[in-house]
């Protein structure tokens, strides 16, 4: 890595508009394209402070600052357009979380990188609507939270309550949500309102290690730990009434359920296995990167293809996982209100993936090109009339579900034409960490965090309370800043804001 004084580093950064910065070539060695990131004034300060700290003499260890990571990604072979940092960006393994990058499928040198997808493959957010209002739920929210907590096992080492054997798992890995449909855990309409229709067709369970399957099997239908959660939320604000009504959200106070989860230990193992393989492939094919964490392989190499097939299987795992939790949530609500999920109108509004790599067609320099789009901590946000979004959202643009931090708020955005042109149809995914987990543990007290939620009138059920400060709002950037930046930059449009009334967490 090039080490320069902070002021020299700033020479390579240029503010091009109120909400967008450009990273010039030369900021890191061998950059094939430029980088950029989207921030507002507050996020900008965080971003530059991080860079400043890393420039201090003797600063070693930990991840590279986000800006540096964006630039390192821009140096990967086959990248097209720009390496893009979304407003919620923060350092991660290899790629920053909140970094998206697209690689030309027709360039034989183009690469796929597990670090560009993340360890929690197909981590994503699903939003269920109900026809209940806050007044219906407030009196019973404690019971409801408990009921959800009983139905959806949470925490590290939790096990699911949907019986599955090894054969079921193989089928689920191949079929994704179609498996959940066949077994009757979800509704036909759920599939329609899910990215990729809940199934990646190139999934191949044979490319997944035994170890990953063993880890994954008992975990299906569990929420997991870390930043994953299920929340009962109420609609707090509607910015775009018409788009909201297309999603079945009519008025403030309407109750929705947000599920944020991924592929659990299964995806983690798939990523770990792939990294080992790719280090070998890099040596063989002489692929040079700026950072060892950016392990990658050519898309067309055996390792690259194997990873894409295994990643697709992990993506399918995550969809089955979220589908199982959808089933359990519906059961919990139906029991609580003595009715059926149908009568509660508990439809899936949408299901987004924010850790995934997908083959998509985009316009680059006026020509249509087939690209492998890596989105790590970044949500797809396709504009109205895009053929890959559900028919119900053809006029509004794709719903983008942005989960906030515990106890703050969450948003629904919609995709825009401008986002399609500037960011390959990508936008933010959540609040984005501001403090590392270790730092949060040192600086915050878990009792205070829980008390604060209590004061806000939020019911909480948590499996490991002593880790709760890692997920405290103070540990994150302000999700409203993040969303407002995306809205102001035009890469997605604000539609609905929700606030939580009950949370269950790992």
């Amino acid at each position: 890595m090039v080490v320069r004084p902070y002021n020299d580093e700033l020479q390579y950064l240029q503010k091009v508009s109120d909400h967008c910065w450009r990273i010039k070539k030369g900021f890191q060695p061998n950059m094939n394209v430029e980088g950029c990131f989207y921030v507002n004034s507050r996020l900008e300060r965080l971003m530059l402070e991080e860079l400043k700290n890393s420039c201090r003499p003797g600063a070693v260890g930990g991840f590279l600052p986000g800006v540096k990571q964006i630039a390192n990604v821009a140096a990967l072979p086959g990248i097209v357009g720009r390496s893009i940092g979304l407003p919620d960006i923060h350092s991660g393994y290899g790629f920053a979380i909140g970094n998206m990058a697209a690689f030309d499928m027709d360039d034989p040198l183009s690469i796929v990188s597990p670090g560009g997808v993340g360890f929690d493959i197909n981590c994503g957010v699903r939003l269920l609507r109900t026809n209940l209002y806050e007044k219906d739920v407030q009196p019973v929210k404690e019971q409801l939270a408990q009921s959800l907590f009983d139905h959806i096992p949470v925490g590290v080492g939790s096990k699911g309550i949907i019986p599955m054997n090894a054969r079921d798992l193989e089928e689920a890995l191949e079929m994704g949500m179609d498996w959940s449909l066949r077994e009757g855990y979800v509704w036909a309409e759920d599939k329609e309102h899910c990215e990729e229709y809940g199934r990646m067709l190139n999934a191949d369970p044979a490319k997944v290690s035994m170890r990953a399957k063993k880890r994954g099997l008992p975990q299906l239908g569990t929420l997991g730990a870390g930043n994953h959660y299920a929340e009962i939320q109420v609609v707090d604000e509607i910015y775009d009434k018409w788009s909201a009504s297309k999603m079945g959200i009519e008025e403030k106070g309407q109750v929705v359920v947000m599920i944020h989860s991924g592929s659990r230990g299964f995806g983690h193992q798939v990523a770990t296995d792939a990294l080992v393989q790719m280090e070998k492939a890099m040596k063989r094919d002489k692929i040079e990167t700026n950072d060892r964490q950016l392990a990658c392989a050519r898309i067309n190499s055996v390792e690259g293809q194997d990873y894409l097939k295994a990643m697709a299987a992990a993506a399918n795992f995550a969809w089955v996982n979220r589908s199982s939790m959808t089933f359990l949530t519906r059961q919990a609500f139906a029991k609580m209100f003595n009715t059926t999920p149908d009568d509660l109108d508990m439809h899936v509004i949408y299901d987004v993936s924010h850790n995934i790599a997908k083959v998509e067609n985009h316009m680059v320099d006026g020509k249509e090109r087939k690209l492998l789009v890596h989105r790590k901590g970044s949500t797809r946000a396709f504009p109205p009339h895009h053929p890959l979004i559900p028919v119900d959202y053809q006029l509004t643009g794709q719903p983008v579900l942005v989960g906030g931090t515990m106890g703050t708020c969450s948003y629904v955005l919609t995709g825009t034409e401008q986002g399609m042109q500037e960011t390959f149809g990508s936008t933010c995914h959540g609040a984005g960490r501001a403090l590392s987990r270790a730092k949060s543990r040192r600086n915050l007290d878990y009792k205070e965090v829980l008390d604060k939620l209590d004061q806000l009138g939020i019911a909480i059920r948590v499996a490991s309370p002593k880790l709760v400060m890692e997920e405290a709002p103070e540990s994150y950037k302000d999700v409203t800043d993040v969303v407002d930046t995306c809205h102001a930059a035009g890469i997605s449009k604000k539609c609905i804001k929700m606030r939580p009334i009950a949370v269950i967490k790992g």
Binding site: G160, P163, G184, E192, W242, V391, L395, T414, E417, S464
Partner: protein, 247 residues
């Protein structure tokens, strides 16, 4: 379309021509003849100049149509469209070199009429001559009963009739529940079409809505099929004994 042609010919108020008004029609015809076609000498245009005297004007117009070799068209709109096209053609022939650089890479668009003819013919299996006067009259009558707008090609019109019958009058359509909910003006969505050209914007929006409608139909069929299969395969189970909350 008429507006575009008027624009191309340099008409002073292309958007304000009221097509239903006979007098305005008359003055537009006169304008085109005066400015562009110039089939008659100035003296011979006298009858057409009598816009305020319909009887004389109509007489002049009838012979004008014949002299132009206009094919028998029924409505005022079609006739005007034909006259304008004729004028555009003359304009073009005055100086073809000027337009030499403009070409369409896709070649000439396939004629809608021919496709419709093929489709209808295949339905009747050649047993009925679709060009027979009796057939044409029947289609026109049907169309007027159902308020389907006139089109010079009766086969296209027949297709429109079929669509109206299918959407509104078939037993399935009659049993359908009316759509409830608040209607939303379809030109106010998030989608941008072509905000500075209403002539393009409106038809594009309508076509897109029709496309979305047929996609919705397809998706509903898919969902129904999935549900039918689920009736055979689905058997969701849970076993709370398996559950374990982590640390």
């Amino acid at each position: 379309m008429l507006k575009l042609k008027l624009e191309a010919l340099g008409h002073p108020t292309p958007s304000d021509v009221a097509l239903s008004d006979r007098k305005e029609f008359a003055s537009t015809v006169l304008w085109v003849e005066d400015q562009k076609i110039r089939l008659y000498t100035i003296e011979d245009r006298e009858k057409l100049r009598n816009i305020d005297n319909p009887a004389i004007w109509e007489e002049g117009y009838l012979s004008y149509c014949a002299d132009l070799n206009m094919p028998p068209l029924e409505t005022q709109q079609e006739q005007l469209a034909w006259i304008l096209s004729h004028a555009v053609r003359l304009e073009f022939l005055d100086d073809p070199a000027q337009f030499a650089s403009i070409n369409s890479k896709q070649g000439p668009p396939q004629s809608n009429g021919k496709q419709a003819q093929k489709r209808v013919q295949s339905i009747f299996d050649g047993k009925i001559n679709t060009q027979e006067k009796e057939f044409v009259d029947a289609v026109r009558l049907l169309a007027s009963k159902l308020n389907v707008p006139h089109h010079p090609n009766h086969l296209l019109q027949l297709e429109a009739v079929a669509r109206v019958v299918h959407e509104r009058l078939s037993p399935a359509a009659k049993g359908r529940k009316p759509v409830v909910g608040k209607p939303f003006p379809f030109d106010k969505g998030n989608d941008v079409v072509s905000s500075n050209d209403p002539a393009l914007d409106l038809p594009m929006r309508i076509l897109r809505l029709l496309q979305i409608q047929s996609l919705r139909e397809l998706q509903t069929h898919i969902n129904e099929t999935i549900v039918a299969v689920q009736n055979i395969t689905a058997n969701p189970k849970t076993d709370t004994k398996l559950g374990k909350v982590g640390r």
